[in-house]
Amino acid sequence: MSFTAPVLNYAQLAPMLIILGGAIIGVLIEAFAPRASRHTSQLFITVASLVTSFAALMQVRTQSSADAAMGSVAFDGAGVLLQASILIIALLSVFLIADQENFTAMPAAVPGSHEERESLQLDLRVTEVYPLTLFAVAGMLLFPVSTDLITLFVALEVLSLPLYLMAGLSRRRRLMSQESALKYFLLGAFSSAFFLFGAAYLYGYSGSITFTGIQASVVGGSGNDVFLLLGIAFISVGLLFKVGAVPFHAWSPDVYQGAPTAITGFMAAATKVAAFGAILRIFYVAFANAEWQWKPALVLIAIITMVFGSVVAITQRDVKRMLAYSSIAHAGFLLAGVIALSKSGLDATIFYLFAYGIATVGAFGVVTLVRDSSGEVTDLNRWSGLGKRSPLVASVFAFFLLAFAGIPLTSGFIGKFSIFSSAYESGSTWILISGVLSSAIAAFFYIRVIVLMFFKDPVEDGTSVVIPSALTTITIAVSTAITVILGVFPAPLINFIESTAFFIR
């Protein structure tokens, strides 16, 4: 038996390899560079890797190949679009992360301990977050282009493990942050187990771990359908956990609240793009012909997710928890695009992911600005009268909320329209009706926050809006601009997605 060297298409893998390289350099900096210089060099390396990776991706954007890495990675239009979205969102999030106020001085120190006090006195800064971010980004880039279950699982773990750590890095309320990290880790581990279980069933069903192999078995119809059904069900549990669909959402409010806000923004936006990218590929490529096995269940999950997210968000008193439930509702809307199982559904989902991701990063960027002497203020009651204190910040946040609510002239409206119309076009009337109704419910809590900010008088308790750092300003400004532009002139991006987005089989 001879060993064949793997054939890799390096040009197409370059975006991921660059990020991984940057992450490793980041680790070396942590190990060898003096503490004082770490923050600057880490930030530089991170931004440089993201930008280079994006440039490398643009170099090969017109290529496509089903076999970028021995049949485990595909490179196609949809993949390029998803990877580009992830990179842009990651770059904007890194600008938020660079505002180090939000991170603990020494993650390893026990909360309340002597070490913690000492590290705070020394004004240490946690810089490990940069290589962790890059590792997560690498996993996210691989996630939507994996074409076999093993690679998909590896990507899932590569993106998840750094996120578990990053969730625990909050500077204030550290116990809560660590609790959320542990919760995220434990539930994530559970869902990974489900995922593997499903992969095993699918292998048993088709004798193959590649998407095309599974698809061939589905078309051939020779396998045991029970295994297929179980396989799809368990794999879906693992993937739906990542996007926070009901009933696999329980982690997300706690983690969104506990994690440092910049990380929450990154997690909410980029993870969603990556995970939905993977969901799209596996359902559109591997399971497309087994539509009747999964569609009814997924329709039900989508409806429950949108309704549950919208209804529960109404009662939230914390802005980060509210955004968490809102993101659950949005996961439901996004599932509508998966269920559509059509070209227009694919286009709509990719557009929605990008538009939603950008608005989410921007919204969390605004959340980092509202602080009092002990850190960020996320209690909604204390946001009252924000419009009086700093009209600009409140207006920008209100604008993002209107985009989430899908008001015309924001990107959210175009996204909502295209995703619902694609779902209805493929016959899902109930998705359309429940989507519209839950949008109406969701509008209620978005508007409540606007009322709070603009129509209530400020409470005098030291809550104020800090002057944002230059990088945070860039993130918020760019997100706002993109949200406006995609609302008013979406045609160029829609045309681009329409002509580019496809899955190679």
Partner: protein, 505 residues
């Protein structure tokens, strides 16, 4: 440049101008806003003279691609119906600015924000009537809620925030139902000749729908418009909003925005779903008659002068809805003329009421008494406005109310007869407050009220002139309205009933 597009651009440019004037130069800001609205009004009148009333197709048409992949165009154009409503809107805008010269002072924000909101709203008011692309219409329909929301919540009085939220939530709910119907239409058009939102092409689509589909889509549109109009039982937001908003905002809200509802019934409900319109006509007639009587009874019982005007409007909108769904040319012409007249008589009522309230410091009718002796000009203005509201012969509303009743009687005699009681009640709800507030001895607290100043006289003068002039000579308007009404009915195959008497002999 296209007349409609330039009319929409003017207020936007005006709002930019207002935005660059420093906030402390309040007078300059007001002058800029007034100048802009006067310019728009002049261009509106010029468009009126250029309009060819014999030509029943859309005029001043401009079509440009907006989102080609969804078949969405920026398409504007007017027929007689839309032109009349645009003319009403642009004439009311400068009057509102002039009459409410000091309205912005009690607000949460500066005068600058107030006038920017008013001007942006004016652009959208023109756009919503001018759009001939259903998607574009929807964008204006929803987007115009946001400036109104801030106008009520930011500059109103009393429970302004709650009223603003109620208004917005009601409207968003209706809007989302309409969005579902629009998506339905879009999908149907996709399978019959390609995706489009062109109102002309969409009005062919009813041929391809099952009656259930058509009924459901009709309801999506109709409920949205019935909330807007408002028709009983979807009216409950209106009294709160009108009572809390500033008089100027109320004029725009009741005079213009609510007309979008009745305009939409003609333009969209009847034109897109003729069969469903026929199916639902009996129900809608009942609702319209209930609105007429219910609004009138509530108005009789109202203690607050602004609420009284709001309730009278509910009654008037009942007449308009009845005229529309009678499906006769007289009913339609009457309804359209009614919309125009109602705009002016409500404007007169609200503006004079606003001055009375700001002078007396109370909006309770019982607090006023004998104003005729103290402030004769103000009292007479209110009197004429009130007479117009109860449709006194010789004033403009009489012509339209008469046409509506005649047009309804030829097809639905019972509804018309019951609705006639509305006229009797109208005499009560207008004459009781007129007697209490204007006549009789001057009650304590009213002795030292000032009469109208020159600015206020200039503002109310044209309104009263229009009310009287159109009462004697409505021909200029009817010449434009009649061909348009006949055309709307003819296209969808509605015919006037043959007079029954000649048939019997």
């Amino acid at each position: 440049m296209n007349a409609l597009t330039s009319m929409m651009l003017l207020p936007l440019l005006g709002s930019l101008l207002v935005a660059v004037i420093p906030s402390d130069q309040v007078l300059r800001i007001k002058q800029a806003a007034l100048g802009t609205t006067v310019l728009v009004a002049i261009s509106g009148v010029m468009a009126w003279f250029k309009f060819d009333s014999e030509n029943t197709s859309f005029q001043f048409v401009q079509i440009a691609q907006w989102i080609p992949s969804f078949g969405i165009n920026y398409a504007v154009g007017v027929d007689g119906l839309a032109l009349v409503l645009i003319l009403m809107s642009v004439l009311l805008a400068p009057i509102v600015v002039l009459a409410g010269w000091n309205e912005s002072e009690g607000g949460r924000w500066s005068a600058k924000v107030f006038y920017i909101l008013i001007l942006v709203l004016e652009t959208m008011m023109i756009g919503v009537f001018a759009a001939t692309d259903v998607f574009l219409f929807y964008v204006f329909f929803e987007a115009m809620l946001i400036p109104v929301y801030f106008l009520i919540g930011g500059y109103g009085s009393g429970e302004r925030a709650a009223a603003a939220v109620k208004f917005l939530l009601y409207s968003l709910f209706g809007g989302l139902l309409m969005l579902a119907s629009i998506i339905g239409l879009y999908v149907i058009s996709g399978t019959h000749g390609g995706h489009t939102f062109d109102i002309g092409q969409l009005s062919e689509m009813h041929k391809y729908m099952s009656s259930t589909t058509q009924n459901l889509l009709f309801l999506g549109f109709f409920i949205a418009f019935a909330i807007k109009a408002p028709v009983w039982p979807l009216h409950t937001w209106l009294p709160d909003a009108a009572a809390s908003a500033t008089p100027g905002t109320s004029v725009l809200l009741l005079g213009v925005l609510d007309k979008v509802g009745t305009f939409g019934m003609i333009r969209f409900c009847l034109a897109l779903f003729p069969d469903a319109s026929k199916t639902f006509t009996p129900v809608i007639m009942v609702l319209a008659v209930i609105s007429i009587l219910y609004g009138a009874f509530l108005a009789i019982g109202a203690r607050d002068i602004k609420r009284l005007i709001a309730y009278t409007s509910i009654s008037h909108f009942g007449f308009i809805t009845m005229g529309i769904f009678a499906m006769t040319t007289q009913g339609h012409s009457g309804a359209t003329l009614y919309m125009f007249n109602h705009g002016f008589s409500t404007a007169a009522l609200f503006l004079v009421a606003g001055w009375m309230i700001s002078r007396r410091g109370s909006s309770t009718i019982a607090d006023f008494g004998g104003l005729q002796r103290v402030t004769p000009v103000m009292a007479w203005s209110f009197f004429i406005a009130g007479m117009s509201s109860l449709a006194l012969p010789g004033l403009s509303s009489f012509v339209s109310e008469f046409l509506v009743l005649v047009g309804t009687y030829t097809r639905y005699p019972v509804a018309a007869i019951i609705a006639t009681f509305g006229i009797v009640l109208a005499a009560l709800y207008i004459l009781i407050p007129v007697q209490k507030a204007l006549h009789g001895p001057t009650t304590p607290g009213n002795e030292n009220l000032r009469d109208l100043n020159l600015r206020e006289k200039i503002a109310i003068g044209p309104v009263i002139a229009v009310i009287i002039a159109l009462g004697f000579y409505p021909a200029p308007l009817l010449n434009v309205i009649n061909p348009a009404s006949a055309h709307v009915l003819e296209v969808q195959g509605f015919t006037d009933p043959v007079p029954s008497e000649s048939a019997g002999k």
